[in-house]
């Protein structure tokens, strides 16, 4: 009788412990950020220009702020071109020197133009392979040419642009803060970098004078 009671208490204790662990386990995403990017319901394609961006933003922040380097390096060889693109982009921000050779190969030979764009950008952040970036200016695709032309000078530039990008990501982003600019409400604050390298904070000028802000695409 006594032994049965002890057994029952032990079993109850184990079950209680398991129940305590289960919510914590289920609250954690079951797949890596790169894996979730691969399985995005709304891929980063033309049709989804205005849709699903919140998840793409969240995943990119997660990949940069909590990097899984081996997985990202493997991502450069993935069969999914969007996985190759995002891996190249993030590895550029992370200035991962182990990826330089593969990025150079991708910049020259990847069959998808958008992967070549990301690989060339990444080499710019890494300040590596200027000859590969220069060759990109002769790529048959206009977007690749344009990217090569605009990042070419990054290699010799003294500023650590990858470190600046990581600092921008390090602020993090919460879903509730996204899309929080509403007409009639106080304009949300944000920070960005001025051309002299100093940090700009909207709250420095907000409420002091009328302000126009234009969020530009690549060519304004």
């Amino acid at each position: 009788m006594k032994r049965r009671t002890i057994g029952l208490i032990a079993v109850t204790g184990v079950l209680t412990g398991l129940l305590g662990i289960l919510p914590a386990v289920s609250a954690r995403p079951s797949h890596s950020a790169l894996e979730r990017y691969r399985n995005l319901e709304l891929k980063p394609v033309f049709e989804n220009f205005d849709k699903g961006w919140q998840e793409r933003v969240e995943l990119e922040f997660e990949m940069v702020n909590h990097p899984n380097l081996p997985e990202l390096r493997q991502g450069l060889k993935d069969t999914d071109p969007y996985v190759r693109s995002i891996s190249a982009k993030v590895l550029g921000f992370l200035a991962d020197r182990e990826s330089i050779e593969l990025l150079a190969e991708m910049a020259a030979k990847d069959p998808e133009y958008h992967v070549r764009i990301r690989a060339i950008e990444a080499l710019g952040f890494l300040k590596a392979k200027p000859e590969v970036i220069a060759a990109g200016k002769s790529d048959p695709d206009f977007g690749v040419k344009w990217t090569a032309k605009t990042v070419e000078g990054m290699v010799a530039d003294r500023v650590d642009h990858a470190a600046q990008a990581r600092a921008s990501f390090a602020k993090g982003i919460r879903r509730k803060d996204m899309d929080s600019a509403v007409v009639g409400k106080r304009a949300p604050d944000f920070t960005a970098r001025r051309l002299d390298g100093t940090l700009f904070r909207l709250s420095e000028v907000r409420g002091k004078k009328p302000i126009a802000i234009y969020f530009a695409a690549f060519d304004g």
């Binding site: 033309f46 220009f49 982003i173 996204m178 600019a181 960005a192 969020f215």
Partner: protein, 131 residues
């Protein structure tokens, strides 16, 4: 770049209102500087502003993570127009009290739609300045 060139045309009027203009580029500082200073797409030329160092008059700001764009709901991180587009081009006007009073997404529907886009921004700035 047309939106910025058109804004440059209205510089004097915006300054008279005591207003300030910013352009946020979701790129590293190097390319933001190129955007502002080097006129990579419109370099040279013989037009009215051909000899100016920059046709981008607004203060350029670099937002390489796209965090500012995400807060303002304009982030895209998507393929379009033959490249990766980080932000959907969008105007915002904030009044002197700090309240957001105007927002518009240029449609690029016609070759000169930027003229109306910037005129509307100017109207919103006038109202924001109480003039």
């Amino acid at each position: 770049m047309h939106q910025q060139a058109q804004l440059r045309l209205k510089k004097d009027e915006i300054q008279k209102l005591g207003a300030e203009a910013f352009v946020v580029v979701s790129m590293d500082l190097y390319r933001t500087e190129g955007f502002k200073e080097k006129n990579l797409l419109f370099g040279g030329g013989t037009g009215q502003f051909g000899k100016e160092k920059s046709i981008v008059w607004a203060t350029a700001l670099s937002d390489p993570s796209g965090r500012a764009g995400a807060i303002y709901g304009v982030s895209t991180k998507c393929l379009r127009w033959g490249s990766w587009i980080e932000n959907r081009p969008t105007w915002f006007v904030i009044d002197g009290e700090g309240t957001l009073v105007y927002t518009a997404k240029p449609t690029f529907a016609t070759p000169t739609s930027y003229v109306t886009d910037v005129d509307l921004v100017l109207d919103a700035l006038r109202k924001a300045a109480g003039k």
